[in-house]
Amino acid sequence: MNARTKLIALGAVTVLALTGCAAGAGSDETPTLQFVLSGDGTQGGGYQAMADKYKEETGVTVEIVDVPYDDLVTKLRNGAQAGDLPALARASDLDPIWSNSLLDLSDIAADQNVMDSLLVANDDDEILALPSDLTAVGLYINKSLFDEAGVTYPVSGDEPWTWDEYIAAIQTVQAKTGARYGMVMDGSAHRLRSMMYEFGSTGVEEQSDGTFEMNDDSKTALEYFKKISDDSIMPKSVWLSGEDPSALFKSGQVAAYYSGVWQITDFAENITDFEWQSVLLPAQTVRSTNLGTNWMVAFDGTGVEDETRDFINWLYEPDNYAELSEISGFLPAVEGLDITYQNSPESFALYNEEIAASDPIAADQATEALRKGYLGQKLEFEPLKDEVVKYLNGEQDIDTTVLNINEQTSEAYGE
């Protein structure tokens, strides 16, 4: 092919590409609702199943757009900037760039019995975001190791153990079985917060003058945390270098794993060398887990607002919501449902029990974030984690750590 022919071919192909695949989106009669979320594929495809069911029942197409978790915020943000927001989304937080374009979902919340502690209304009494599902922090143990060491642990219906009792227990297990570590905890401020709550902390709280502070129990909890991060009870590498705690636990060399409900499906499928079990969280003075949720939001200005509301309402109906939770292994954010989980139902039951028995502080982190979201404020990073990492690494002392966390939170929310 000589140069001229190549050029013509090039030109033709380019023109084809540029025009051929411009903005798609069919123009059929039934509207398509774009639903942006993350992780549906990795969680069993519950939302896709619901979308298929909805199409069967009503003929309306719900297009599930499953984007990588790390890119969810970017996707929504840029979509907003291009004037191309989806019909609805399951977002991890409210983004100031689009938090003013949301529909009011308070009627759906009331009708479908959505969990009260996670409902947050803005100043106009509108509920702009519904909890899509629930996650909670929980403790797993390597049952085989515990049984081998003959150490008992509290299960459903028991009284929880204190942190001191818990640490003593895992140290016994370590001594008797030669397990490498007593416990691992996810490198996440979310998990750490629940530990702090268990010591009586109330998190990083807004004071009357608008600044943020942690109480003294928080300091106790953090010092305790540092004490047990001694590379014997708990390895430092998880918090300091991002070592994968789940992998460590699955190796069978760790007695306990402080994580959350999302591990259940993974463990059920991928742990075959030893027995694991969900047990009660330790409670030094207060019994509390930490709740997490994603927020179901519907966007205004998409032209399909009514259809979107209908879909969300349908989704929260008991039968549908229960089915969704079963397929994806979600804890329900709707009250009064009876869900039969396929994997390890007793673990899920334990989580529900923990949530019911928890101090109300457990819902605090999630609802506070939403409240701030309504005001157009968002904490994009975790001062708690960043400063604790430096504290664990010996880069600064406890008082500096507490001070930094207070200051940075105040600054971030001070806008």
Binding site: A3, L10, V13, T14, A17, L18, G20, C21, A22, A23, G24, A25, Q34, S38, G39, G41, T42, Q43, E63, V65, D66, V67, P68, Y69, D70, D71, T74, K75, N78, G79, Q81, A82, D84, S92, D186, S246, A247, L248, K250, S251, G252, Q253, S259, G260, W262, Q263, D266, E269, N270, I271, T272, D273
Partner: protein
Amino acid sequence: MTSSTQTRPSARPATSAAAEPTPPRVRLNRRNKRATRARRAVLPTLALWIPVLLFLFPLLWFLLSSFKPGGELFRYPLTFWPETFTLDGFAKAWERVDFARYFGNTLFVSTITTVLTVFFSASTGYALAKYKARWLNVLFICILATTMLPTEVILTPTFAVIRDLGLYNTLAGIIVPSVITATGIFMFRQFFITVPDELIEAARIDGVSELGIFFRIMLPLAKPIILTLAIFSFQWRWNDYIWPLIVLNDPKQYTIQVALRGLVGAENIDWTVLLPASVISIIPLAVIFVIFQKYVMSADLNSGLKD
């Protein structure tokens, strides 16, 4: 010296098989030659295969781990060879990720972008190498500067530009910004620097136009660079995820990396799916590489100018 510069070497002096039986002296010489060749091969071969084995070890682990069941992946002590060999992971990965579609999307976009990239990198590289002008030097520095800002910094402003140009949700929106590559231009510039000016002089004397020189002489000469840049360009476009994700609205047009990143959950990663999926995703590129490299290697042993 003629201006025809297709320096495909003439056939090497005959070692081709003759029709009649070969006389004993020739057979002996041939055997000696083979022996010498074998002797000469030992040292470089040995020197090569030590790093090869070092590189191979982690790679093999990666490949073998994709065949392990979930329970074995994190077992302690770690196993190298799978105790249980299973294709489950691959089956799950194939089901979870619509490879056929994503490969198709990615291949389409990559091909067009690569053709454009190679062409314009070559033309610009040639201009930078063989023409003298102050503004060309400045242009070169400017192009290098494009590699000096991290992507996150110019992500939002570039998106604003794409949107303002009306390229949101079009394939052009992800192809056009990717055409310019400092590495590609740099590669061609350095290559054309090594091309003797006499070649160009002679061509001009013969009455060839400037563009003619570029198309008919320089481009064919630069074949190894073209192929090498093509390999690079395919790989870069293969690994693109952020632009397709935020510029395109229709998820059916996403690329393979978006799909792979989607396998990374918010709190944990299902390695039993991600590892096999990664293996599958690199196969097309490996194939492209093998094909192209054959051409690069076989391209004139004296691809430079003989005189």
